[in-house]
């Protein structure tokens, strides 16, 4: 009997643990209800708009400008986060100093703090009469109500993605590899840049992609500090909200479907990085 069973192609390998049917069934049901059907609805509405409509709505200069703003600010913020997130993670993994645990716990603040709260707090700091803004104002440097403000908000939002992706990989680094580099004559800096940094590259890239993906779609923390000036500091999610408030569902659908495709691209990118890392280095991040 077992031979018959084991030679047959099976979708699931059998084991004695009960409850697969009900848990798997419920998982699929709930997943479909909450996530898949609503997302499919967006796809269906976008498809029923037709290619021509979708293209004309999507190529509206204001839409293109908002998409570009969302993308490049998220890109810049992710880049900042890769540099500083790397330093923060390194300091927390390798060094022991008073206050380390506090810093470590604080890194998750952007996960826990509601985005709207972050948004108004950052505005209070960087507005022309704000905590920091007032010192920059005399030099003609404006942060709030410019794209720079968006970058700052997205740095706040994206930081934990980089730190929390890189940190565990750093903890797993083998010291003997660094020692090997030293015995071969490499200075500490050479070891850091030629040995340590390259082995963190997949994790850094993943952190970058996660930060980028989150930044492109971010809304709450950005709209307060951005000033939302069309063609300058208007982000794509805000444009969706505005079109919805005008009951212009077609335009909202068009922008939404473009953004959703962008998210899928980022997701694909992350999976490609991980597949590459697994193939090349024989391990997942």
């Amino acid at each position: 009997m077992t031979t018959v069973l084991s030679t047959r192609w099976r979708w699931r390998s059998s084991n004695v643990i009960p409850g697969f049917g009900i848990t798997f069934g419920f998982t699929l049901f709930y997943l479909s209800l909450v996530v898949l059907i609503p997302l499919a609805c967006l796809g269906w509405r976008a498809a029923s708009l037709g290619g021509a409509d979708l293209a004309s709505l999507g190529s509206d200069p204001r839409v293109l400008s908002a998409l570009a703003t969302s993308f490049w600010t998220a890109f810049a913020a992710a880049a900042v986060n890769v540099v500083f997130g790397l330093i923060v993670a390194w300091v927390m993994v390798r060094y022991r100093f008073p206050g380390r645990r506090l810093l470590d716990a604080a890194v998750d603040l952007p996960f826990a703090l509601p985005t709207a709260v972050a948004g108004i707090a950052l505005t209070a700091i960087y507005a022309p009469n704000g905590w920091i803004g007032q010192f920059l104002q005399p030099y003609g440097l404006r942060i709030a109500y410019t794209p720079l403000g968006i970058v700052i908000a997205l740095v706040f939002i994206g930081l934990p993605f980089v730190v929390r992706t890189v940190q565990p990989v750093m903890e797993e680094l083998n010291r003997d590899v660094e020692e090997a580099a030293a015995t071969l004559g490499a200075s500490r800096l050479q070891t850091l840049f030629r040995v340590v940094l390259p082995s963190l590259a997949p994790a850094l890239l993943t952190g970058f992609a996660l930060s980028l993906g989150r930044g492109v779609g971010e809304y709450g923390s950005v709209i307060f500090i951005a000033g939302n000036i069309p063609y300058v500091s208007e982000i794509a999610p805000l444009l969706i909200v505005m079109r919805l408030e005008e009951y212009n569902y077609a335009a909202a659908t068009a922008i939404g479907s473009i953004m959703l495709s962008l998210s899928f691209l980022v997701l694909l990118l992350i999976n490609l990085i991980q597949a590459w890392s697994r193939r090349r280095f024989g391990h997942v991040l």
Binding site: R12, T27, P114, M259
Partner: protein, 292 residues
């Protein structure tokens, strides 16, 4: 092999081969500390300081306004509905994925993670398209007199969407690491499936479960983008605390806006404190991915 006594040499202090010079070390710590202070601590300080700009009484007065109280009530209600639902889903998905082998498992995990990579505004948008005018369901709901959009059910649905993966994401890697040995042992000793889950599995995952619930709750209470799209902002009815913050802020009522915001910030601090505590209790390695 007795050694001849060696004249004591001046102790030479060398750095071990895998650490940086003290100067570089101090520099990096300083960079990290200043960066985190600017990016994380300063905004947090700004929230409380702006709330107390006119003294604690003004802040407390703003919090005892009827609208503020209604927003707090709605926020708690929404969390009380969405978190348990996602908890049940998370446990069930983790059980199916971690304890069994089936084709397409990786794809299923990707689908569960999907809400993390979708803009919250799009989460709101999809429900508008699903239930709004011109949608497939609109005529039926109208005839049945059910209001989803611009009402509490819409707020709940949007919240469920954005907090969907939290518990599952935490439990799946944890339960995969634990394998099926304990459960098989319990079953072989005659326990029923439900007994096995309650007496064997649940104690093993309780800290991870709590951790997931904590993060899920923080996001549920703090969600802004998705909720703002479907809420309609009916004061005292469909306005959650984050939306109340926005409304007050846009009315230039800054003290009140920051007062409500500081309640949310306190909630965030509480979440972080409990999270740190949990990590201490059961170790960072078991706290799953933390990618959300």
């Amino acid at each position: 092999m007795s050694s001849k006594s060696v004249p004591p040499t001046a102790p030479i202090v060398f750095r071990d081969a895998t650490s940086e010079s003290p100067l570089l070390k101090a520099g990096l710590i300083a960079v990290a500390a200043v960066f985190l202070a600017l990016v994380l601590f300063l905004p947090l300080a700004a929230v409380f300081s702006e709330a107390l700009r006119r003294g604690p009484t003004a802040a407390l007065a703003a919090l005892s306004e009827a609208d503020a109280l209604a927003a707090i009530r709605l926020t708690v209600t929404v969390a009380l509905i969405s978190v348990p639902l996602n908890l049940v889903f998370g446990v069930s998905a983790a059980w199916a994925i971690a304890k069994f082998d089936f084709k397409g498992k990786t794809f299923l995990i990707t689908l569960i993670d999907l809400p993390f990579s979708v803009s919250p505004v799009i989460a709101g948008l999809v429900y508008i398209l699903l239930f709004g005018t011109g949608s497939l369901f609109a005529p039926y709901m109208q005839s049945a007199g059910v209001q989803i959009l611009f009402a509490v059910p819409g707020v709940v649905l949007a919240t469920i969407f954005v907090t969907f993966p939290f518990v599952a994401r935490e439990l799946i890697p944890l339960m995969q690491d634990q394998g099926t040995g304990d459960e098989e042992a319990a079953l072989s000793l005659g326990a029923s499936g439900w007994q096995t889950f309650r007496l064997v599995t649940l104690p093993n995952i309780k800290w991870g479960l709590l951790y997931g619930v904590l993060l899920c709750n923080a996001r549920a209470m703090g969600e802004f983008g998705a909720v703002s799209v479907v809420s309609g902002r009916l004061r005292g009815e469909t306005v959650t605390m984050p939306l109340q913050v926005e409304i007050l802020y846009n009315e230039y009522n800054f003290v009140a806006a920051f007062a409500v915001a500081s309640v949310l910030a306190l909630l965030a601090l509480l979440t972080l404190g409990l999270k740190a505590l949990l990590e201490q209790v059961y170790g960072r390695n078991h706290t799953g991915s933390s990618k959300h």
